[in-house]
Amino acid sequence: MTDTKVLSLNGLSKRFGSVIANDCVDLELHKGEVLALLGENGAGKTTLMNMLFGHYMPDAGTVEVADEAGQMQALPLGHPQAALAAGIGMVHQHFALAENLSALNNIVLGSERLSLLRRDLKAARAKIERIMQHTGLTVTLDTPVGRLSVGERQRVEILKALYRDVRILVLDEPTAVLTPQEADTLFENIGAMTREGLSVIFISHKLREVLAFSQRIAVLRHGKKVGEIATAEADERIIARMMVGADTPETARQEMTPGAPVLTLQDVSVTGRSKRDSLTGANLTVHAHEILGIAGVSGNGQSALAGLISGLNRPTSGRVTLAAEEVAQVTPTNMIKAGVGRIPEDRHHDGMVGAMSVAENMVIERLSDPEVQSAGFLKKDAITANAEKLTADYDVRGPGVGARARLLSGGNIQKMILARVFEQSPKLILANQPTRGLDMLAASEVARRLLEARAAGAGIVLISEDLDEILGLADRVVVIHDGEMIEAETRDREAIGLMMAGEVTPHEPQQSGAETQ
């Protein structure tokens, strides 16, 4: 890293309607530097980078980029082409790759003139191979992208940017879809790239990797830059406080003796649209007073497991037993009646009816309850009273229980769902990504409620892609990979990471031959 400035954002502001996404943000980047842009969901990180890249037009502010001679030049705003020409590349969270084309064609795509009569793929291949050698980012160039793993696809995206000779690379939440090992490899590659003179901004909300791999940290909160700190001087407490603006309460898990089994799966298979959407011969036992963490990279059968416990997916074989009673037919109604509380992954899509009131959403799962209706007619007063009580108990803030649920913020929607679920004192709770997209205060509130339910005797299945969350809350850890579940005997991040990548398949005599590499 040098002191040569390559990028400077001056007073960038952007509002969407009445929401201020960015408020007068200044940021500088030096040559060869890795700058971490840290902030909670909705703090304005992605908006800021989208303005830099020309996807959004700022309401105010300017951007200056160093040209090849090192002179700072004003960047015309609102033009992605200009940003590309100035040597800025961006790798989005969601990849933009053509699955049926080879990695090579994907990398070259868009950099050739349309009027070209003959493609010089040989030169392109030579250039990409040279980049791969320098950075350690290797992919098999002739494989169709559709057959590459998520980590490989990300490398294709980065190579695509490097192929265009970028000097500044923006990575938006690059590790969200990676196993811990893949993430470590990525950061090694980034290290190699910065030694070649590349400057990197990476957006993240994971404190651990920010501390390990950046040189400088800029923190955004509510659209404002609230601080900047050299990574060497930072620790988790300091930057967490910068992100939240207050200390987050610690959630301490106390050891507890597990009780009787509340959920048992015996050789249960669920057939989804693809293998990644399925479960094969799953065995699982969850006890009372126990949180069982399901760790895994997204798309390895978590949705099939969640669908099964929610009652949406019927098993094609095997037995599902809830509190010593076999579930004859797996349906949402039967699971609710058997005492299963479900916190869905997509709370806007599955967890609530946005156009209906908060009060109505709070009783939607118990429409046959005599407290809610009599003779097929709703007891409006009881429903309102119930909602008034729950919103107070669970601190759901919003325009009132009669207002549409859609008007609540993400954290309050989750609290509304928690209130609905926990109020029924469920025997088993499915918590699928319960803190995703929540700010740290709301997330720690969710964790506290889960631990409370555990103390009250519930068994909890916690599905999360955030290994830190699982290690912090779960009594036992089960790793899910490719539709199969294996209990991790260890709490070691490295070992669990290898299992998440499918590189360890212990005690599976029939399958070990086919699966191990």
């Binding site: 969407f16 037009m57 609102g78 009816v353 429409l367 709703l378």
Partner: protein, 358 residues
């Protein structure tokens, strides 16, 4: 620069004012073609008002015209609230009408306190069957009900022509393709002597009131709204989505069938292939003008019936085309649809900057 921003909430006054404003704009805009037709605009509108409210007979005609529109409007409004796109009310209306004449034109002889309810129940059942079929095709096989219900209209019309030339043909009808008349015991009683308005109107008003209460206060209405607004969340919460859609189909088709019963047993007395001048389709316009509210359907049906009856009367006395009615109705629907955009978004002006945010 002009920008479009979503609104956080839509005020109640806006929701109520929108259809009224749309109607006023449509009526004002109709002055332009009236002026082109060479009519004195004030006189023309005067004739229109007279044609609707000028006499007891005029009011009776308007209410008579509104009756089937309330039924088909309710059929569309309830189905649309559940996101079940019933475009087939026209066919269901004829199914109801066919059932009414099949039973009421002499097949059963009974006193009116038995025959009238039987005709009503069977007519509703026939209409319901016409909506249950496409709904089962939708829930079982994913067939788009917009297509199936729309096309079923034409199938029913051809079936109707066959029935009127065959099994249902009036032997005393001098060869005209029309059914035998409904027995006096099967006729819905009139409401005023020498006026055409009949007790179908009372049934329509009761149906609207019941629909309003059921929608907002019953568990069934709760499920209907939940399924319509977010079917995956409803399914997750244990609401039987397919079963709810099926029940909505029965009610919606039944109401459309009732429109046919009411026209044939309350007004015409016998069935012809031109019983309905598109009441099924106009019901969709009524439901949209009403913002899919059952009580709103009554108001919207009265408005549209007034426009049609008033324009007819104006056309007779002023010599301008009665198609003006279609123009006014279409204009008000367009205004409501455009207004629906403004209910969700507002347009603001800001200092000019280059480019537009995506």
């Amino acid at each position: 620069m002009i920008r479009i921003e979503p609104r956080a909430a839509t005020s109640q006054a806006f929701k109520l004012g929108l259809p009224v404003l749309s109607a006023v704009i449509a009526l004002l805009a109709a002055a332009i073609p009236l002026a082109f037709a060479g009519a004195n605009i004030l006189t023309a509108y005067g004739e229109m008002v007279k044609g609707v409210f000028g006499s007891l007979f005029a009011v009776s005609e308007m209410l008579t015209r509104a009756t089937p529109l309330i039924f088909t409007g309710l059929a569309a409004a309830l189905a649309f609230r559940a996101r079940l796109w019933n475009i087939g009310a026209e066919g269901q209306l004829y199914l109801g009408a066919m059932a009414a004449v099949a039973i009421g034109a002499g097949a059963i002889e009974a006193p009116s306190y038995i025959l009238v309810p039987v005709i009503i129940v069977m007519g509703c059942a026939a209409g319901a069957a016409g909506m249950v079929v496409p709904t089962v095709l939708k829930t079982r096989f994913g067939a788009d009900e917009v297509v199936t219900t729309l096309l079923l209209n034409f199938i029913v019309l051809i079936f109707l022509q066959y029935m009127l030339e065959g099994p249902l043909k009036d032997p005393m009808g001098m060869g005209w393709p029309q059914s035998a008349p409904i027995l006096d015991e099967g006729t819905l009683p009139g409401l005023m002597t020498r006026m055409r308005v009949h007790s179908g109107l009372i049934i329509a008003l009761v149906a609207a009131a019941v629909a309003q209460v059921m929608l907002s206060r019953s568990v069934w209405g709760f499920k209907l709204r939940a399924v319509g607004e977010n079917a995956p969340a409803a399914r997750h919460a244990g609401i039987g989505v397919d079963r709810t859609l099926l029940s909505v189909a029965i009610v919606s088709g039944g109401l459309a069938g009732m429109a046919g019963v009411s026209e044939v047993a309350g007004l015409k007395g016998y069935l012809t292939a031109d019983l309905s001048p598109g009441f099924g389709y106009t019901g969709i316009v009524v439901a949209m003008l009403a913002g899919l509210s059952p009580v709103g359907v009554v108001v919207a049906a009265l408005f549209i019936a007034s426009v049609f009856v008033g324009a007819d009367s104006m056309s007779r006395s002023m010599g301008v085309s009665s198609y003006l009615a279609d123009l006014i109705v279409s204009m008000s629907l367009l205004c409501v649809l455009i207004g629906g955009f403004f209910a969700r978004y507002k347009i603001t002006r800001s200092a000019p900057t280059k480019g537009e945010a995506s």
